[in-house]
Structure formats: structure tokens, C-alpha cells
Amino acid sequence: MSDPAITPELVNKHNLTPEEFDKIKGILGREPNYTELGIFSVMWSEHCSYKNTRPLLKTFPVKSPRILVGAGEENAGIVDIGDGLAIAFKIESHNHPSAVEPFQGAATGVGGIIRDIFTMGARPVCVLNSLRFGPIEGNGNAANNRRLFGGVVSGIAHYGNCFGIPTIAGEVYFDPSYEGNPLVNAFCLGVLRHEQIARGAARGEGNPVFYVGPATGRDGLAGAAFASKDLTEESAGQQRGAVQVGDPFMEKLVCEACLELLATDAVAGIQDMGAAGLTCSTCETAARAGTGIEIELSLVPQRAAGMTPYEIMLSESQERMLIIVRSGREDEVKRIFDKWDLPWARIGQVTDTGRMVVKHHGGVVADIPAKKLADEAPVYHRAASEPAYLKAVREFSLAPVPVSSDPAADLKHLIAWPGLASKNWVYRQFDHMVRDGSVVCPGSDAAVIRIKADSLPIGAAAASAVADKYIALTVDCNAAYVYLDPYEGAKIAVAEAARNLACAGAVPLGATDNLNFANPHNPELFWQLQESVRGLAEACRFFNAPVTGGNCSLYNQSPNGPIDPTPTVALAGLIEKPEHITTQWFKDEGDAVILLGDAVDEQDPLRGLGGSAWLQCARGLKTGSPPRCDLEKERQLHNALRGFIECGLIKSAHDCSDGGLAAALAECCISQQIARDTPRLIGARVDLSFGLAAAGRLDALLFGEAQSRVIVSTAPKDIVKVVERAKILGLGAAHIGTVGGAELAIKAGDWEGKWALNELHDLWWNAIARAMGDHKTIETEKARNP
């Protein structure tokens, strides 16, 4: 079959503008052939080139004394955690593939991010995820949203569980804006010694280039380009051609074999074949090393008959790695990959030409300057203009919103609202304990994982002498806030993540973000992106959490419109001593309940109800300016809280976010799970009367989402210490109640609400299972027909 002629239509089909095409001709000094056109189209897609976002990403704080490998340098950033140890972490999206095939889309998303981490020479030790779907309750579209949600969750479970990595934290929200365009962001963290850092560079002229992993098929052809377009029936249709299928079994073997090989120092460079597969890995490694690379496609293991050079170069078959081996050490590759029964092939070598030369049966099918291809994609400064909808948002006032007639009932609805309800239906499907490191499992503000000797890649010098480390992890983003005020909302995403870390007793080490936005060519949507990045950058700087990397997923809009702007933020933090590890649930009868921070933000005309869960859930309104975040105040809170924790004054700490004080208090009482069907319920009696005047209305006091607030519990003897020290630090602190009893009782003025704990727990714990069509009946059925 001969290649099609290069026509303007074909160029356009490849998502390249006439200007971009001219630039390509300039670089090549001639017309590209079909294969070259395909190569440029994927490398210059938004997904690989960040052509619309690079100027924005430059504004992120990326430095700290702990940073060993910074953002943009390699496949993932690396941060020092002391004693010669380091962590590599990164978040990536797999939104469009998951819309087309939720199970495989999500599974391969997890596989991709795990490869990004062991590519760095690190052993992957945990994964997180951040998910968004349309509403799952009721009929109509909800049925399809449930299909997507259920498929994505089992896809993540399938891949992570089989690979043998704990899925230790995550977040899930439901909103109509994600209907038809769900978000699936996957995060992975790995551990290594400083001297084990591997590079994605094709170093050493003459070094052989190896392909390892399963054979190449026509899977996900040009997926990167697909991810860089609006999601339409047509684009999805094309993608259905050959959906990528993940093989976690294969990935586990490839990971172990690669770590074993890296331990031999036979490796000069290594990179996964992720987006844009063979194309991206060859030109990026050459570009990083300033060398050239030459490969022969007939040597590439192939699954399908008669694949063209174009198809082989653009295939996104999973679980494949490109390894540049020091010449003379080829046998070690053979020995190790044979041991693991893995396919491998020598497909080329490193050259000094600076060019990426691709041959097929000896004939040159592509010859491109590697650096220009990898690094000189066009950069666009898109037009931005404030969205019209924000005018109404700012003008929104509470005046016309009827005051809650039954706050007690509202709390029940709130905690059973899928966005707020317990996510156990999701994380009980994930193995979140494998590897014996899960100290705080899903269900508290931040997860805590123990790093020990066997968390390291093999060959780590004196591995047995490694001192255990404790890393706290969280991923957050309240996209309703970001929609209503991108700058403030993005700040809050970071602030909330940092607050979660502080509640666990951790100091931030670094951040990774996933910018999920809609079409950047629309100035109003680009404005959302620009403002969000401004907020993220400012907040990350403030909490001393440099951005070590991340991912951009634009064009997230289905025919029914754009998604809410969703800049998810994952933070990793360090906990100095195991005794500082703190969880969110109340511990002992008689303990004191203390609110750190101010009950109400009096500067906020909406008293924290703008964009709040209560306004959405109880009044069906997603509007109003969201709560503001005073970063200085927020930081004070975190420092004070960590100080108290380190002095051993704090028994539990829970951050107040969606659902406000009332929801947070309820969670403190019902969120400890001892075992299957066995929660530990412990009540509390709380008096919030002191905040009523400032709040103006009861629902604002109970459900307002003012920032910078944490509910802690302490032994009675420590009340004064905590409250007084907080005051000295200029931090609001109020002793609001006592832990104990079989109910939650909240008093405010002459109103008092009482909730039976077992009822609250059932509403909260089973809400999502109910929405999904509870499996309980089948679950407890015997293994035999009656």
C-alpha cells in the first residue's frame, strides 16, 4: 500500500495548521512524507508539546533545595526526602480514552503513569486518582454516567490490583458538566536512592537502542492527537478503531525487569513509550542527550500483519519501553528479559547526527532533526477574556435564597449527596494495602504511606539500613469554586491539599497538577486556564510546594458544552515521626472538640455559601462567589496545627471543606471503619452559638464553607494549651464541645439538631452503593443455588 499524497486536507486532518505545516517544511527543507507528517502531528499536538500552555507553565514555582529533578526535565520530577532517599511522582490524565472505553481507558491511564515513574529508576509504591463524572442518581443520562463511573473504577482496580500497587487515595465528584466527558487523572509515586535516578537520554554515540515489552499493534493510533481535540462522535469513532488494551501482568514484569536491569548500570538511558509511542520516546531521548538516533522498523516486534511505518511509529500499544544500552552490555539485557520471559529487540543505535532517522527494510522513511521536533513545537499565546457568566455569579446574593427550614434534614441530604458521601464503594474495589506500607488508608484527610527498605528498587546500596519514612498524600480540586472564580478556586485547591497534609501531620514536599480544561481557542475558556494557573502558582509558592511536573488535558468538552475548569492538585508531604501521624476521626469519650480558625468569614458577603455543596444540593444552585482563601492565614493555621501535633496535643484533626462545619463534625463521628460492616461510631455534643451573629443565618453557620478551618480533638487537660497557644499565634480557636455519646448534637442559639449516628453512617456510607444499585443482596448470597 503506497502512502497518500500530502494535500492540505490531509494536513488539516492531522490537526496541523497551514502555518505549522510551513514551519515543518522549514525544518526539513522540503515537504514531509506521510510518516513524517504523522510524526510531527503527534509531537506537536497539545498533549505532547504543550503549545498552548507552555508560557503559563513557566510561571509555576519549580525550585526548592529538595528538588533533584525539576519539572519538564524528565518524565517525572524527583524530590529529596532525606537519608539519601528520594520520591518521584507525577499525575497524568486519560480523559478521552476513558470516555470511549471506561474500563480500558482508565486501566491504561494507570499503566501509563506507573511507567513514567519506573522510567525514572524509581520503584512505584502507590497510586492515587482524581475522577469526575456526570450525576449518577436517577434515570436518563445518569444510567450512562453510572456505566462510565463503574467502568472507570473497575478499570483502575483491574490494573492497580494486578500490578500490585496500593491505590491509597483519590477523589470523585459528580457534576452535569462532566456528562459525556469524564475526567480520569492518575497519580503515581515511586521511591529510589539519589544515585539510582535514571535519565530519558540517548547518550553515547554507537550505543545500541533496545525495544522491550510486548509487540506493537495498531492500538490507539495517534491517541495523543485524539486527546488534543474536542470530544465528538467522529473523533471518538476514529478512536474506537483500536482501543488500547492494558496488560497489568505484562507491566509488572516489565517494571521488575527494568529495575533489575537499571541495577546493573548497563543502561545509558531509558524512556517509556507513552503518548506517541516510538515517535516520542526516540526523538525525546535524542533531544535530551543532544544526540541522534537511528532505528529500523522491520526489527520492531509486531502483533499485526502488514503494519506501515506510519502505524508503527504512531502506535500506542501499552507496556513498551525504549532502552539505550552501553555497548558491550547487550547480554545483560538479554539475560534479564529472558528471565522474565519478556520480548526484546535491538532496533537501532545512537548517532551523532542530531537526527531521528527511521528506516523500514533499509529504506529511510523519516529523517528529522530530533531537537527541533521535540522542543521547537510552535508556542501560542492565546487570547483570554473574562467569561460573561461571571457577572451574574458576582452579583448573586443570599437575599432571595430561603433560609433552611430544616437544617437537620439538610445535613442528612448533604452527607448522602454522592459528591460528599463516603467513597468506600470505590476504594474497597482497590487493593489499598499491598506492599505493607499503608499506615493511613483511604477514608481520612490524607493517606499516609510508609517507605521502607523493600520500597526501593533492587540493588539499592545498603538497602537494609534504610530508616522508615512516612509520606502523606492527597489530591484535591473543588471545580465548582474554580468555575465560579478560577483564581480563587485554584488557590483553594492547593490550600485544601496543604490543609489535608497538615491534618495528617505532614509538611509539603512538592506538588503535581493536572490542568483539565476545555478548548483553549475559546478566549473565555482560556481565561479560566490562565487565571487558574495564576492561583495555583501563587498558592504553591506560598506553601513551599514546588510543582515538580504535571499534565495538561485541554479540549475537555462534549457536544453539550465545556467541563468545569478542573486543575487537580496532588501534594506529597513528609511526616517526621510515626507518632505524629494523625487521623480525622474522634478518638475517646470526653475529649474536647476545638475549632481552629474562624467559624465565619465576615468579609465574605455570602458567608461561605457561594458555590457551596449546600447551595447545590439543597437549593439546586451552582453560583455565587466562592469562599476566599487568605493564604497567610491558611499557612498560620497549618504551622500551628503541625506544632500542636508534634507536641502530642492533638488526637484527631479534620479539615472543614464541602458541607461546612456540620458535615465535618458528622465525619469526625462516623468515619472510622474498624472492619467490614463495623464502623466505630462516637458521638459529640457541640455548641456553635457564638458564631450565629456573625453568620447571620443558621444554614450559613452550619454549611458555609469558609476556608482555613480545622476541627481537632484533644484530651481535656490540653484544652487550654491549644486554645491559648493558638490565640498567641493570632489564630482563631474555640472550644466548641465534647466527644461522646451515641448521637451528634449541634446547638446554635435556641436551635438544636440531633442525629443518630447509625442513621448518619448508613446514609453516608451506603449512598453511592445505593445510587449504583446496591450489590448487598448478591454479595452475601451463598456460592450455591438454593
Partner: protein, 236 residues
Amino acid sequence: MNFAVLQFPASNCDQDALHVVQNVLGHTGRLVWHKENSLAGMDAVIIPGGFSYGDYLRTGAIARFSPIMQAVREFAAKGGPVLGICNGFQILCEAGLLPGALVRNRSLQFRCEHIFLKTVARQSPFTGKIEEGKILRVPIAHGEGCYFADEATLAQLEKEDRILWQYCDAGGQLTEAANPNGSLRNIAGICNEARNVAGLMPHPERASEAILGSADGRLIFEGLASWLQGRMAQAA
């Protein structure tokens, strides 16, 4: 004591078992690759959890044909203790070293959570250190942990006191709700006729340190260790 922890392609709880044996209990141990065919010098064998061969075809179906399994048969035939955890239990059943089979959870979903275990048979190398009436709190993590065997086999297991553990509630009751996967008779673990080969779906190696939320699982490994000591004392 010297423990062998078998390592199949995509075993993934192998490190955890080794960690408990070595770092928590202070014994020696080593990972034994599935292509090896000798267990010389080993006092006990642990077949760890994971997804050997991706759980493709049936859980444990392919692993049982690995070269090392012949050595395991011989080791077991000589009375050596073999403990299969989760996927290890599935492999032992597929290999015919334990009766019955583990099928898809009733929920059709993977389940990862702590459960309660009632220890039934206390005469075994694995349950000797668990005192009467003690309820163990240990995690499960599996999609195919529903124990099935025909009536005759179940009756025999009961008659011969070979049911080691059953899923129960906090109070020790064998309720439906406490059964996480639909296992017949709430069976979580059993042993062979000679009592030296046992399998269970829960993960004691994930519950052997207080910092991980429970140290109950330790009792199983400690029981095994002291049983081995007794055996050696006799031999000497």
C-alpha cells in the same frame, strides 16, 4: 527458621511476606523464583498473594504448572509446612494440594477491607498460637475468594476438623453480612488431611505490625515458627 517465599510472575505480596518473616519476626528467608526446582534447606514454604500470570484463565491455574510446584509437592509430602495466602491459596487448590476452588466474589467486585476471623481448628501448625475464642482482625484483598466445594468435601472438612478459619462478625458470629465473598460455610481458610498444607484468602502478612492497624496476623506466623521448633526438637 528459614522460610521460602515463592515468586511467580506477578506475585505481588512476596516482598510483604518476606518482610514479616525477616524484619518483624527475625527469621531468615529468601524469594524462590518459580523456575527453580529445589527447596533444599528450607523449613517452611509461603506461597504469597498476587496475580500470578495476571489471573488469566483462572486464578492460580497457570502458576501451578511452574517447575517449583513439583518441589512444593515433595516438600509437603515429607510433612514440610506450606502456607498459601490469597493467590497462594488459589494455587494450592488448583494444584490439588487443597480441596475445593475459589470462585468469583458474589458481589462480582474486588474487595479490600478488614474482616474478622474465627479460628476453628486449633490443632495445626498455623493456629497453635491463637488462643481459644480470640477473634482475628485481618484484611482481605481479592476478587475471587468465594470458597466452593461439593457437599461431600465440605462434610469431610468439618468431620476432620480441617476448617482453620471462618469469616465472622466482631462478636464471633458466622453471619451472612460478615461473609465478604459468599464462601460456603463462611470458609476463609482450610488445611489438608496431613494438616501441614494450609491456605487462606485473608492477608495475615498485612496485619503483623501495630502501625498497619492490626498485629493479629502475626499469631499465624508465630504459631508456624514455634511448631517448626517443636518439630526440630523432636528430630534432634
